[in-house]
């Protein structure tokens, strides 16, 4: 019976990790940028939902409608300014710049909102769950997040394969110079990709806040989980990320079953094992790692 629970809870958590990771994966796939401030951006989205949207007199749960477009805009602007500037230097600089941003964001949040934990208030929904059996339960919020994650991945997949802009994104990801020669403004396309990535990160941040408490320093550990999901699933594979997230979630739930302290450790161990045995991940291409 414990196994069924491990699978159910693992799948639910895995959906969240996939939602968190798809922006990271997209930015790496298109711009070859690893955004080390990815986790902190999600936390900022959570703080915006908790502290700023009440001024608009809407329920915190609907803050999504404001925060997601806002973050898309922030993503576009940040990409066209700081991130593009660091891409123009070298990949090394993008790491240093996004790491710097991450530390600056974390400490600004600490200064303005203290280290107190916050949650996105979803009312009574947060406590309700579905009990299909006597010993396991499925929280409605977690189920909603899983559905949202699958929906986001599906929309992203459709966007990349069937729309003109999606094809441009793939063209720029494959060969920036060739796409530029054919008339695509790669900087603008990068901006669009970053806008999508930031929109998903905002969604992930709010989803996180609905499920659990967050603090200014929560970004780091979420970046780790997102990254582990990407590597376990295979770098460059969107649906692989979902499978990776689920595998990571199951490992964590399994570890936590023995001792709550082993939750993160079990996930890390799974990641290191995958790295040792199959460094390209479950669904990755052999060349994508190096």
């Amino acid at each position: 019976m414990i196994w069924i629970n491990v699978v159910i809870q693992g799948v639910l958590v895995g959906g969240f990790y996939a939602l968190f990771a798809c922006g990271l994966s997209l930015m790496f796939g298109v711009m070859k940028v690893i955004n080390l401030a990815h986790g902190d951006m999600a936390v900022v989205a959570g703080y915006v939902a908790v502290f700023l949207t009440p001024h608009l007199h809407i329920a915190e749960i609907w803050s999504l409608l404001v925060v997601v477009p806002l973050f898309a805009l922030v993503g576009y602007v940040l990409q066209r300014t700081l991130i593009q500037k660091s891409i123009d230097r070298d990949p090394f600089t993008t790491l240093l710049v996004t790491f710097g941003l991450s530390v600056v964001i974390e400490n600004l949040l600490l200064e303005f909102y203290t280290a107190n934990a916050q949650t996105v208030n979803v009312g009574a929904l947060g406590y309700e769950s579905w009990h299909p059996g006597s010993i396991f339960f499925i929280s409605y919020v977690s189920l909603g997040v899983l559905v949202a994650a699958v929906a986001v991945l599906a929309v992203l997949q459709l966007f990349l394969s069937h729309t003109g802009t999606g094809r441009l994104v793939r063209a720029v990801a494959d060969d920036r110079e060739a796409a530029q020669l054919s008339g695509a403004n790669y900087r603008h396309i990068f901006g669009i990709a970053a806008a999508i990535a930031f929109a998903t990160v905002a969604l992930a941040g709010i989803a996180y806040g609905m499920q659990t408490q967050f603090a200014p320093t929560s970004g780091g550990v979420n970046l780790l989980f997102a990254f582990e999901a990407v590597v376990i699933g295979g770098i460059g594979s969107l649906w692989g990320t979902l499978v990776g997230g689920i595998a990571l979630g199951m490992a964590q739930v399994f570890g936590a079953h023995f001792n709550p302290e082993y939750q993160r450790l079990a996930g890390n161990v799974l990641f290191l094992l995958v790295l040792a045995v199959r460094p390209r991940g479950l669904f990755g291409k052999a060349t994508s790692v190096s």
Partner: protein, 337 residues
């Protein structure tokens, strides 16, 4: 294969230093002498600031070796700071004098780094960076689960209580200073060796270096192990200087943030850069003490600005402008006119 020293009589002349070596050597000896006797001369608060400064210099020098010379952006060096601290704690709990455990802790970190490189060096760029962090998180979780070390609450460093406070202060100062000196001088000598040339060739053009027979992977592995040992030594002196050891403080990612910003601001790929960066860091930290974590906000923003507009850092900019080097590791070519 030994390296032929370029001969003077044919073609351009080749020199190491732009200033007289005697001048630099004399200055160094005076500085080293002063810093050795400093705890007996300067006020106690100063020597404690100096001690933290040395620890930061060790860390930043090691990070600079990784990133500035071998192109590996690690954000998980706190793994070795923590492991160095806990190795020291382990031997001290077994009754060894804490000061004698510093070299032991350093060696343990070097040995632990070997299997880790086989995992991490499979990844490149940003993936390498986050994986280093996973390693440090794993180390933190494992150490935090060991009851012998006091779990998550940590443990007091034994073996220092029989010393008087001033003795403890002097000994820890000397230990820290000595480790910093060894690390900086060792890095300097390492970079002047054949390995330094190999690293420079990889940094300038990895493909060309490979085709010339350079084993890029083993050079990177060696540097990673050296940096792990250095950070382990920093962790060991940290453990001796701050007698209470807690996983969340010794494995804190803030160490990584500090060493990264210090190296970037001072100047990556120069020996002097991390030292100058550390001076700037401590000046800022001391003067912004009453404003909470604003010093990290300012320092982080400064690092971003420098990475984008002055990637060679402040020392790099200064050196390019005035053509001076205090600790030269390269050669200068000059056409005879």
């Amino acid at each position: 294969m030994s390296l032929d020293t370029p001969r003077r009589e044919e073609g351009p002349s080749v020199r190491r230093s732009s200033t007289s070596p005697l001048f630099a050597l004399g200055g160094s000896i005076i500085l080293v002498g002063f810093l050795t006797v400093a705890p007996w001369i300067v006020p106690a608060e100063w020597s404690s600031v100096l001690m933290n400064f040395f620890i930061l210099v060790i860390m930043a020098t090691m990070w600079n070796l990784l990133a500035g010379y071998a192109g590996m952006v690690s954000i998980g060096q706190q793994a070795f700071i923590g492991l160095g601290s806990y190795a020291t704690l382990y031997f001290a709990l077994k009754g060894v004098n804490p000061f004698l455990t510093i070299p032991l802790a350093t060696m343990i970190c070097a040995v632990l780094a070997v299997p880790i490189t086989f995992l991490l060096l499979r990844l490149r760029g940003g993936y390498f960076s986050i994986a280093t962090w996973v390693v440090s998180d794993t180390a933190l979780l494992i150490i935090g689960a060991i009851a012998f070390f006091g779990g998550g609450t940590g443990k007091l460093m034994p073996g220092l209580q029989y010393l008087s406070p001033s003795q403890t202060a002097h000994y820890t100062y000397l230990a820290t200073w000595f480790v910093a000196l060894v690390v900086v001088v060792g890095t300097y000598l390492l970079l002047r060796s054949r390995l330094g040339l190999v690293l420079a060739s990889i940094r300038d053009d990895e493909v060309a270096a490979r085709s010339a027979g350079v084993n890029v992977q083993s050079a990177r592995r060696l540097i990673f192990i050296v940096a792990a040992a250095g950070c382990g030594a920093a962790g060991a002196v940290l453990a001796v200087s701050q007698p209470f050891i807690q996983p969340s403080s010794v494995f804190n990612i803030q160490w990584a943030a500090e060493m990264i910003f210090v190296s970037m601001i001072g100047g990556l790929g120069t020996i002097e850069g991390p030292i100058i960066g550390s001076v700037i860091f401590f000046t800022l930290q001391q003067s912004l003490q009453q404003y909470g974590v604003w010093y990290l906000v300012i320092f982080g923003s400064l690092a971003v600005v420098i990475a984008l507009w002055q990637p060679r850092g402040l020392w790099g900019a200064f050196r390019d402008r005035y053509h001076t080097e205090l600790l030269p590791v390269g050669y200068h070519l000059r056409e005879e006119t």
